[in-house]
């Protein structure tokens, strides 16, 4: 079937089978491979994207269901080509990643959290990433990264939605 998707601010027309998940559609048809396929049944969180600003699992949404919503992937959060967002920078600086498999999802979860709550407690950060599995870092540096990004964003002289 023909669908129209709003991905990272661009409208794209596509032909999909209804059973195509949003995840497969992003990866295979749009070459947006930042959303990773881990378990493909909702448990690992590697496929996280923002759906109307909210972090969701792209493997649990069929592509036709996404028509009419705004989808943001990791490719859509950078301020410009070759640049990194404040959150991405913070992940580099605190060694918030090793293999990087979980990282795009962690960054997007942090993104959704910090738009909603610019001043999260450590417990709120832990809760926000609790649905995302990381097999490498032991999570501590990921939590540090999000806390560092939060601190920097609070200091930025811009409205919240534009800061993150």
């Amino acid at each position: 079937m023909r669908i129209e998707l709003d991905i990272n601010g661009e409208t794209r027309e596509l032909e999909v089978e209804p059973r195509t998940t949003l995840l497969d559609c992003l990866r295979d048809q749009m070459q947006l491979t930042g959303a990773h396929a881990g378990c493909e049944h909702g448990v690992c969180g590697a496929c996280t994207v923002l759906f109307d600003g909210v972090a969701v699992r792209a493997c649990l949404i069929f592509a036709p269901q996404a028509q009419g919503s705004k989808i943001t992937t990791i490719e859509g959060v950078t301020p410009g080509p070759g640049e990194m967002s404040v959150i991405q920078d913070a992940f580099c600086e605190t060694h918030g990643m090793q293999c990087g498999y979980c990282t795009p999802a962690m960054v997007l979860v942090a993104h959704a959290l910090l738009v909603d709550n610019p001043n999260p407690t450590r417990e709120q950060i832990v809760d926000a990433i609790s649905g995302n599995i990381c097999r490498c870092t032991g999570y501590a540096q990921i939590i540090d990264a999000i806390a560092l990004a939060a601190e920097r964003l609070r200091g930025a002289n811009r409205p919240v939605e534009q800061r993150v």
Binding site: P18, C39, E40, F51, R57, G68
Partner: protein
């Protein structure tokens, strides 16, 4: 891990959704997709058509309705989690929601999907049974209702007719000196419960129990109420020894589920402990005392 092929229809209203279901016995509703899509990915479910009810206008709401709170079937768990009316009038539900999966699954998962799915461990099923909710559904142009205690009839089995669409749920609001308690044991907070217990009490001015509802989830095929314990404890001061006695007796003859995660004997033992703790918390919160986290 890819779903088998199916047709997709986005229903504009409830009757259209019901018509699609009536036309094909293998058609299924999709709400949040947080249970159905994994089942399809694992090919445990192979619907021939998915009827998407997510965009039906007016099926997602939380509102006061007389002495009850009415919640629309496609209301998402995350909306309930943040709602001021739920926090004030359905404190037991507000307390249980953070235990349902993760933020990302609560962002999609709906209350109607959770109830229709009828997982024995689902927190929303336990809430509906404990709070004496009434479920409304539509089938072939007619509206009907069913009590939560008649709705769940087996693990993942409900009394909902095959071509029906659940439209909403009403939860009676308790007024007065109300207290609540909720406890759950699982591998991680976001995982399904091995056992859960939910209690709501109303105390009189003198601290005596005027009304109590005790529900236990995940232990048996569907959430149960401890009717005999409720009857025994009404009119008492909810003294710990009496509570333990009443709860132990009420759970003595249950046929607890037995699986890899938890044996039947374990589930039964934990059910007693959690129900006692939940009663103690409910009593303490009604009296305005601080509850110690365990």
């Amino acid at each position: 891990m890819k779903a088998a092929p199916f047709e997709y229809s986005r229903a504009a209203d409830i009757d259209e959704a019901c018509a699609w279901l009536a036309a094909d016995e293998n058609a299924r509703i999709i709400a949040g997709g947080q249970t159905l899509v994994p089942m399809m990915a694992m090919r445990l479910a192979r619907p021939t058509r998915l009827v998407d009810i997510n965009r039906i206008a007016g099926l997602s709401y939380i509102r006061a309705d007389g002495d009850a709170i009415a919640i629309g079937a496609t209301t998402r768990q995350c909306d309930l989690e943040r709602d001021a009316l739920v926090a004030r009038d359905l404190p037991l539900m507000a307390k249980a929601i953070p235990w349902i999966g993760h933020a990302a699954t609560r962002a999609r998962g709906t209350i109607g999907g959770s109830l229709s799915n009828a997982d024995p461990a689902a927190e929303q099923a336990l809430m509906a049974v404990t709070l004496d909710a009434v479920l409304n559904y539509r089938e072939a142009g007619k509206t009907a209702e069913i009590k939560a205690r008649d709705f769940f009839i087996g693990p993942m089995v409900t009394a909902l007719p095959a071509a029906a669409c659940l439209t909403g749920v009403r939860y009676p609001v308790w007024r007065g000196k109300i207290g609540i308690g909720f406890h759950e044991v699982n591998a991680r907070r976001s995982d399904f419960a091995f056992v859960s217990a939910a209690v709501q009490v109303e105390l009189g001015a003198d601290g005596m129990c005027k009304r109590i509802a005790i529900g236990v989830g995940a232990a048996t095929d569907f959430p149960m109420r401890l009717d005999s314990a409720e009857a025994q404890l009404t009119g008492t001061m909810l003294d710990a020894a009496a509570v333990k006695d009443a709860v132990t007796q009420a759970l003595a003859d249950i046929e607890a589920m037995d699986d890899l995660h938890a044996s039947a004997a374990y589930r039964k033992r934990v059910a007693v402990s959690l129900a006692c703790r939940a009663v103690a918390d409910a009593r303490a919160s009604a009296l305005g005392e601080k509850i110690h986290a365990h």
